[in-house]
């Protein structure tokens, strides 16, 4: 193995300069001659029967080139996938309906009904105004508990609104509560939230000389080329995705967004077609993070030992299934947190309603579980008059322990209670309030989050590495880069292994036909999966170089390393062969200086969903966050003063990128805790812009202190673990627990707005 020369360093990413110079072309910065502009006509109602769609007036408008309805879609109904090349079945794949169909139900406000392509954006908009729709309005159902009742309005065509159910049973729950000396029950409500990436969805499609549909789009999943091909009823190899650098994703660009629409319009008009969502359309049309209702019951001994935990989750899936089943599974597996609890009963029900559909969001279902268990454990500590750190110390898992839900044994390092201790201590001296109305409080939370996909998805990633004759390095990977530095990391790994400086590496990425498929940039999987694929490919090339150089230098290849473009004899770097000469020697001998390698995650079967046991994820990352808040008890306003985020990342391959994830995840969590609420009134969105849907600004955000633990124990390259999603765990309950510490108010319905806090603090006044 090469030493850490390039890996482990905070090297600026290859895309950073193009971004600060304004040169990088995002999805909506790209135009083609003769292109048409697309618009989507969407439902104004959350629940209705679509009686008829009349497009005759729209079609006859000058400048309109196509108006399409469901009837024009070759395969309007397929199943939702997210890049997996195996079919899981068992209710995991939901319905993907491209456009609403006459005679069937409309399920949410914003559901696409018709598509327009026109010579200008204005004409396309006017054509949409000319589309005439007849609806038969239906009552709809908006609350998931209502939707579960036997006589509830049915959102879709099936005879139940329940998408699926999951369970986990460990020990004997009744015996556990019987043995408990303290029992606490609570209920938490967590709203829908939006990804609010700065880049709205955008894409352009065109036909090439051979009739292939090309789609240039900002997507986290270029494997959707298969799904779009199914919609178009074309062979998979006739649809090509060219992924752009993405202006933020967080799971919101994991499902298909604009692609099917522009592909259909291009197929019809034979012209390039561009579609860019407005912010309002983006907020209305793309998925949300699942709203959850959580009923928790926890039982413990007086010494703080937890003996029983029961949780019942009701996940609000909104109008269509999309990735709901997977989210439910994540929540179920995560429900006990990183605690050793002998008696456990978890039940999760995911339910359709006539709200916008919910799907992937950073953290999947793990965050909602984390908010619940870290809130109720804080309550338990309070009831037992225990220190929040102490109760976590007493109950937490250690390396070699199993999750209390699935009983999957964690073989890598479990950085607990270490991370909690470090985060708690990292808050430093308590802030002293100078104002009697400003109360200061502190909160702690810890947890585990998977990195890598569910093992029964049978995940793999491929990467290609090639040494050019001039000693420059080419990396090819289908990896989508959301902004986390995913693509640059592969360059860094290849450069490290082949002793080439970063300036001499060029990565060609995110093309579904020309770069090896690396799988989705989701599930905190790219460092782990594609990092390992890049490492495997680079090491194959490296070994060939070393073997050839060993012949030339007449030494054992084990004695050689590649450092700064020289193949050197270890410990005696005066003896060396320039890398370009080693390359020449290989080329002259016909030795391949390229490799395309595939890395496979561990594969398992589909678990029994009523009682999930065994391995469901390759591994987990462990960490903790601590927060200090100031609450104004006259207004209820919360100011987050300090955040400490501590995670075991195994090995920080690029520390600046790791910090970037941890800092960004923490601040996104401030929004989740205090302000973000994608509210709907009977299915109608109440926050149609970023002036109503409030994400944290620079003044709302404290300077996050990051503490990185490097246990070296991860499954990724060089012992790395993933950090993208884990960094967004813990922060919300840490803030909620800090608010309780400051005021005695326990927020059970997120977000913790000033209004909710002041109403709780001045209960007597408000209830008069």
């Amino acid at each position: 193995m090469s030493e850490f020369k390039i890996v482990g360093k905070a090297i600026p990413r290859h895309d950073a300069w193009a971004k600060v110079r304004g040169e990088l072309k995002y999805a909506d910065d790209f135009t083609l001659p003769g292109m048409l502009y697309a618009k989507v006509y969407r439902s104004k109602y959350p629940a209705a029967k679509l009686i008829s769609v009349d497009i005759s007036k729209a079609k006859s408008l000058k400048g309109v080139k196509a108006v399409l309805t469901a009837r024009d879609v070759p395969r309007n109904e397929t199943v939702t996938k997210f890049g997996q090349s195996t079919d899981v079945k068992g209710g995991f794949e939901g319905l993907y309906r491209v456009l609403a169909e006459e005679g069937k139900k409309i399920r949410f406000v914003g559901e696409p009904i018709a598509l327009v392509a026109a010579e200008t954006e204005e004409i396309a908009e006017r054509a949409c105004d000319l589309i005439e729709i007849k609806y038969e309005l239906l009552p709809g159902v908006f609350d998931p508990e209502e939707a579960m009742k036997p006589d509830a309005y049915l959102v879709g065509e099936k005879d139940s609104n329940i998408v699926n159910e999951f369970g986990c049973l460990t020990g004997d729950i009744e015996k556990g509560f019987a043995e408990s000396e303290v029992i606490i029950e609570d209920r938490f409500e967590i709203p829908f939230i939006d990804h609010a990436y700065l880049e709205p969805e955008a894409g352009i499609s065109w036909l090439d000389d051979y009739g292939t549909i090309n789609i240039r789009v900002c997507s986290q999943v270029i494997e959707h080329f298969r799904d779009v091909a199914e919609v178009l009823n074309l062979p998979h190899n006739k649809v090509r995705y060219i992924g752009t650098m993405i202006g933020g994703g967080f799971g919101g660009k994991e499902d298909i967004t604009v692609e099917s629409f522009i592909a259909l319009l291009t197929l019809r008009t034979k012209k390039p077609v561009r579609l860019v969502y407005t912010r309002e359309e983006s907020l209305m049309a793309h998925c949300k993070k699942h709203a959850f209702i959580e009923k928790y019951k926890i039982g413990a001994k007086k010494n703080g030992k937890i003996v029983a935990l029961e949780a019942h989750y009701i996940g609000n899936a909104g109008a269509y299934t999309y990735l709901t089943p997977w989210v439910g599974l994540y929540a179920t597996v995560s429900a006990t947190g990183p605690y050793k609890i002998p008696n456990v009963k978890i039940k999760t029900q995911m339910v359709l309603t006539n709200n916008v559909f919910a799907s992937a969001f950073r953290g999947f279902g793990a965050n909602q579980a984390n908010i619940g268990y870290e809130s109720i454990i804080d309550e338990l500590a309070r009831k037992l008059s225990m220190d929040p750190l102490e109760i976590r110390r007493i109950n937490c898992m250690h390396t070699g322990d199993a999750l209390s839900t699935t009983e999957q044994v964690i073989k890598t390092y479990v950085a607990l209670p270490e991370a909690a201790e470090k985060a708690w201590a990292g808050l430093g001296e308590p802030t002293v309030s100078k104002d009697k109305n400003i109360k200061i409080g502190r909160g702690l939370a810890m947890g585990q989050m998977s990195y890598g996909r569910m093992t029964f998805l049978r995940d793999s990633s491929r990467c290609y590495v090639k040494l050019e004759t001039d000693g420059s390095l080419i990396v090819r990977s289908g990896i989508p880069d959301l902004g986390g530095g995913q693509a640059s990391l592969l360059s860094q790994i290849a450069a490290n292994e082949l002793g080439v400086p970063m300036e001499k590496v060029k990565i060609y990425n995110t093309d579904s036909m020309l770069t090896p498929l690396a799988g989705t940039t989701t599930a905190t999987r790219q460092t782990y999966m594609s990092g390992n694929a890049a490492l495997k490919a680079a090491r194959e090339v490296r070994n060939r170089i070393l073997n050839k150089a060993a012949e030339v230098l007449n030494v054992n290849p084990d004695k050689l390393d590649i450092v700064s473009e020289k193949v050197v004899v270890k410990y005696d770097e005066s003896e060396y062969l320039p890398l370009t000469e080693a390359i020449q020697a290989c080329n002259a001998a016909g030795i391949e200086l390229y490799s395309e390698a595939q890395f496979n995650a561990p594969f398992t079967g589909i678990p029994d969903l009523s009682n999930i046991k065994g391995m469901t994820f390759p591994d987990f990352a462990f960490g903790a966050q601590a927060a200090e808040v100031a609450v104004d008890i006259e207004t209820g306003q919360v100011k987050v003063l300090k955040i400490v985020s501590c995670y075991d990342v195994g090995k920080a391959l690029n520390p600046a990128c790791v910090e970037g994830q941890m800092e960004g995840g923490s601040i996104q969590g401030i929004g989740y805790a205090l302000s973000e609420d994608y509210a709907l009134q009977k299915g109608i969105p109440q926050t149609p812009s970023l002036a109503e849907y409030l994400i944290p600004t620079a003044v709302d955000s404290p300077e996050v202190k990051t503490i990185i633990i490097e246990s070296g124990g991860g499954l990724g390259p060089y012992g790395a673990k993933g950090i993208g999603e884990p960094s967004f765990n813990n922060i919300v309950p840490a803030i909620l627990n800090a608010i309780y510490d400051a005021t005695g108010v326990r927020i059970r319905r997120l977000p913790a707005t000033a209004e909710k806090i002041i109403r709780a603090l001045k209960k007597d006044y408000f209830e008069k």
Binding site: A16, V20, L24, Y26, L198, I246, A698
Partner: protein
């Protein structure tokens, strides 16, 4: 709808093009090839379209193209020609202040506009100055540090070593 000719300077280059009265400066600039000016909301909420017009930081989505007639506009692509702009670009790269980059061009313009008026701000002042520019990736810490580093250089030049 009637169109009017708009003449303006963008990063030292003259532009003369027709614009509809209701067209925003953002759309006008993007239509004329300045795609570094990003469109994140078109309502003045997100700041990705921030440019500097005659020395003043503005959001181009809520400025009409016609209001820019005869004015000088600076965008991210013109930053390299200014000393502070160059320093800011270099500092953003060095600090890892760029993730997805969609806010970056606007953020740099907000930072440049602010440092032009207040060359020696503290971090709290910087946070306030960029609070009209949203970033969803970074949590702002590295952005603030990157701007502060450029400002700190100004502090040092002024002989103030207590930065």
């Amino acid at each position: 709808m009637e169109e009017y000719r708009v003449e303006l300077t963008v990063n030292d280059g003259k532009i003369s093009a027709a614009a509809k009265p209701e067209e925003s400066l953002l759309k006008f600039l993007r239509r004329n090839g300045f795609t570094e000016v990003k469109c994140g909301c078109e309502k003045g909420d997100c700041g990705t379209c921030t440019v500097i017009m005659n020395g003043k930081t503005i959001k181009s989505c809520i400025t009409l193209a016609m209001q820019a007639n005869g004015k000088e506009i600076l965008t991210a692509k013109g930053l390299e020609k200014t000393k502070i702009g160059q320093e800011l670009q270099e500092s953003f790269v060095r600090h890892g202040a760029v993730q997805c980059g969609f806010c970056t061009a606007g953020m740099l313009m907000a930072a440049k506009g602010y440092l032009d008026t207040n060359p020696e701000p503290d971090k709290a002042e910087i946070r306030k100055a960029i609070s009209g520019n949203l970033c969803r990736c970074t949590g702002y810490k590295k952005i603030v540090e990157a701007i502060y580093d450029v400002a700190a250089e100004n502090h040092r030049l002024e002989g103030d070593i207590n930065v």
